[in-house]
């Protein structure tokens, strides 16, 4: 089974030891980006996974490509050219101090890419699944067009499409997001969202839920999922449910709605002690795509995806570097954290 994901890969620069930026004289150098993170997850689970983007030909672009190759992602479809690799500076929070993210991603190679850079018919040869997120069309009108072309080519070949709404207020306005995502979601089969994204992008709200108060309202999430599925004809809608107790401790669970059967499946809830939450949502997406591609039931799929994501929160960096066996074990109920010998 072959999955293709498309988006922006950024340099991630992060001070060590929870330092603030103004203290740091060393920065950890790694890479990350929503769709690339999903690709690494899937490659780790053993699927044939290709990542598509545009990166400069220089050493920094090469380092970005290599970071994916290292984990077995097929990088042969990456277009090379342009000037810069976008950067995000991540100052990790702890306890009551939230993380701070400084984006320096404008004018990156992918942001300045043209439709002609990508031959989607060729890219989707032999593919079964295409994944992108709302971050990619947020990069500019050219990327909205490129995403649409990708979706159309995927649809024509019978490739399933998943999209994580992932609203980024620093990249576009709610109005721009609503317009573009309303257009693109016509092609999408599986939608991943959280309640903030559904509200920010489509104005769809769960009644009586306070996202900052950390209280969950099951009926509200069902209503959000159903409204999304009804509006866009999604086959499945996944809603991730983060309860932010502090920057270090979150509750984490999800719900998967299957439109055909009308089934709403809630996962078990994990109380997480966070090592790194960046890429947490992406690891959920990766887990979900794997579960759906391998024929798991709705309940099994959401348990697998949440377990994968719970483990990601314990791993440094954007990428979810866990094995299939580790996820299966946790999803199967062993969350003891005992040493495996």
């Amino acid at each position: 089974m072959r999955v293709v994901t498309f988006g922006e890969l950024m340099i991630r620069l992060q001070p060590y030891h929870y330092e603030r930026f103004v203290q740091a004289d060393h920065l950890e150098f790694s890479f990350g980006g929503g769709e690339a993170n999903v690709a690494v997850s899937l490659a780790n689970y053993g699927l044939d996974t290709a990542y598509v983007t545009k990166l400069p030909a220089h050493a920094i672009g090469q380092a970005a490509v290599n970071s994916l190759r290292r984990y077995g992602v097929d990088t042969s479809l990456i277009v090379r050219g342009g000037d810069r690799v976008g950067i995000y500076f991540n100052e990790k929070g702890a306890s009551q101090r939230g993380s701070v993210c400084i984006y320096d991603r404008a004018h990156s190679a992918i942001q300045e890419a043209a439709a002609a850079d990508f031959d989607w018919d060729k890219i989707f040869e032999g593919a079964d699944w295409f994944h992108f997120t709302g971050i990619t069309p947020a990069l500019g009108p050219n990327l909205v067009d490129i995403c649409r072309e990708a979706c159309q080519a995927a649809k024509a070949k019978g490739v399933k499409i998943s999209c994580d709404l992932n609203y980024r207020g620093k990249l576009w306005t709610r109005q721009q997001a609503r317009e573009a995502m309303t257009d693109l979601c016509r092609y999408v089969d599986v939608c991943i969202s959280n309640e903030e994204d559904a509200k920010d992008v489509f104005g769809i709200e769960a009644e009586s839920t306070d996202i900052y108060g950390g209280k969950l309202n099951h009926e509200g999430y069902k209503s959000v999922a159903k409204q999304l599925a009804d509006r866009f004809g999604f086959e499945k809608v996944a809603i991730t449910l983060r309860e932010s107790h502090s920057a270090s401790d979150n509750g984490w669970s999800a719900m998967l709605y299957d439109a055909a059967s009308g089934e709403y499946c809630f996962s078990k809830k994990y109380e997480l002690r966070i090592i790194d939450r960046v890429g947490g949502g992406d690891s959920f997406g990766g887990g979900l795509i794997y579960a759906l591609l391998t024929g798991k039931s709705t309940q099994e799929a959401v348990e697998f995806a949440v377990a994968a994501s719970a483990l990601k929160h314990t791993i440094e960096g954007d990428y979810n570097l866990v094995t299939l066996a580790e996820v299966e074990k946790l999803a199967g109920g062993d969350g003891s954290g005992r040493i495996q010998r």
Partner: protein, 354 residues
């Protein structure tokens, strides 16, 4: 803190985030960068402040933790940064601090710089809003480089306006051509920097400038045509004479000459024209820890020696010694904080001081 000497120095330019893999590493396999901050003019401000000169830096950085970190690094080195503008996203839409990646060479492998400085806050800022008369008020010495005009039209205008203002105020002006091929063409650089020459008192480096043998007939070539990178005393003297004949405002011209035996061992010397004579420094040979900022340390050494009214031979030797010692210091700036150690080096005294 009281500064020795009364001359007040100011420089204008871009400061960038420098990202370097530790231990001479390659970017492709790095997982850590040393993060430091530098830029030609900032390096000079820092070096002079470390030597006790009253030194001020003007620039624009984005008002975020990265811009503030750059300013704090300079402040920690006693550089006055009160004129620095922390810009808003409205003033500088891309709102970024210019960045450059440096792979440090070793032995036969050269260092490699990859710039990521386009669209920086400094290049996007509208300097028409800066009151240069007020900015330069009370300063004796202005230093500029040929990097700034390469960055944007607004930056180029800033350089011309600053030169004009400094002349009106009777300030001493030093200028380092600092040609950067990644930023503009050789021809564009020569065209622009030649316009600056009538304003300059102290010229560092002899390129990129037009120095036509015949202003009316360019086909007769440039005085510098065919002169090797490592010229003889006579060749250099002839060029200095041509410069001062055309630009009698030039009080001093200095250029260093590098002999790169490898990426890790170089020799440096310098020629300097001053008070009607060409002087040649001693030749310094040294191992290189970090050569970025070597030219800036030469400039700061010369400026310091002039401010302190050193004798001509001491001026040029101090400048080369300052550059040589910078090559042994990690980071962009010459943080040497006692002039005596540079003077000691200048006299080729390498013994441990006890």
């Amino acid at each position: 803190m009281a500064h020795s000497g009364s001359l007040r120095f100011i420089t204008i330019g871009e400061i960038m985030l420098r990202l370097t893999p530790p231990d001479y590493g390659k970017i492709r396999v790095a997982n850590t960068f040393e993060a430091s901050y530098g830029g030609s003019e900032a390096n000079i401000a820092l070096a002079l402040a470390n030597l006790g000169i009253d030194s001020t830096f003007f620039s624009v950085v984005p008002n975020n933790s990265l811009g503030k970190s750059a300013v704090r690094m300079l402040r920690s080195n006693d550089v006055h940064c009160s004129p620095v503008i922390l810009s808003t996203p409205e003033e500088t839409p891309t709102h970024r601090l210019g960045t450059y990646y440096l792979e440090t060479g070793y032995g036969i492998r050269s260092s490699k710089v990859t710039y990521d400085r386009k669209h920086s806050a400094f290049t996007e800022y509208d300097f028409g809003r800066v009151n240069l008369g007020k900015l330069l008020d009370g300063f004796d010495w202005l230093h500029l480089s040929g990097i700034t005009p390469a960055l944007s039209p607004s930056c180029a205008q800033l350089v011309l306006d600053a030169l004009e203002t400094a002349r009106a105020k009777g300030m001493t002006v030093s200028f380092d051509g600092n040609f950067r091929s990644a930023l503009w063409s050789w021809e564009a650089a020569r065209d622009f920097c030649t316009q600056c020459l009538p304003y300059v008192d102290v010229l560092l480096g002899i390129e990129p400038y037009h120095l036509w043998r015949d202003e009316a007939d360019h086909s007769r070539g440039d005085w510098k045509d065919g002169v090797p990178l490592q010229p003889s005393y006579e060749q250099q003297d002839e060029i200095f004479q041509a410069f001062v004949a055309r630009y009698p405002n030039l009080r001093c011209i200095a250029r260093h000459v590098r002999y790169a035996h490898s990426g890790s061992e170089n020799s440096l010397k310098a020629y300097m024209w001053y008070e009607g004579h060409t002087f040649e420094s001693k030749l310094f040979t040294f191992n290189i820890l970090d050569r970025v900022g070597g030219g800036d340390a030469f400039a700061s050494g010369l400026i310091y020696a002039m401010m302190k009214r050193y004798k001509p031979m001491d001026m040029v030797n101090f400048a080369v010694a300052s550059s040589a010692i910078k090559h042994t210091i990690h980071g962009d700036g010459n943080i040497t904080d006692d002039a005596a150690s540079i003077r000691s080096l200048m006299n080729m005294n390498y013994d441990i001081k006890r």
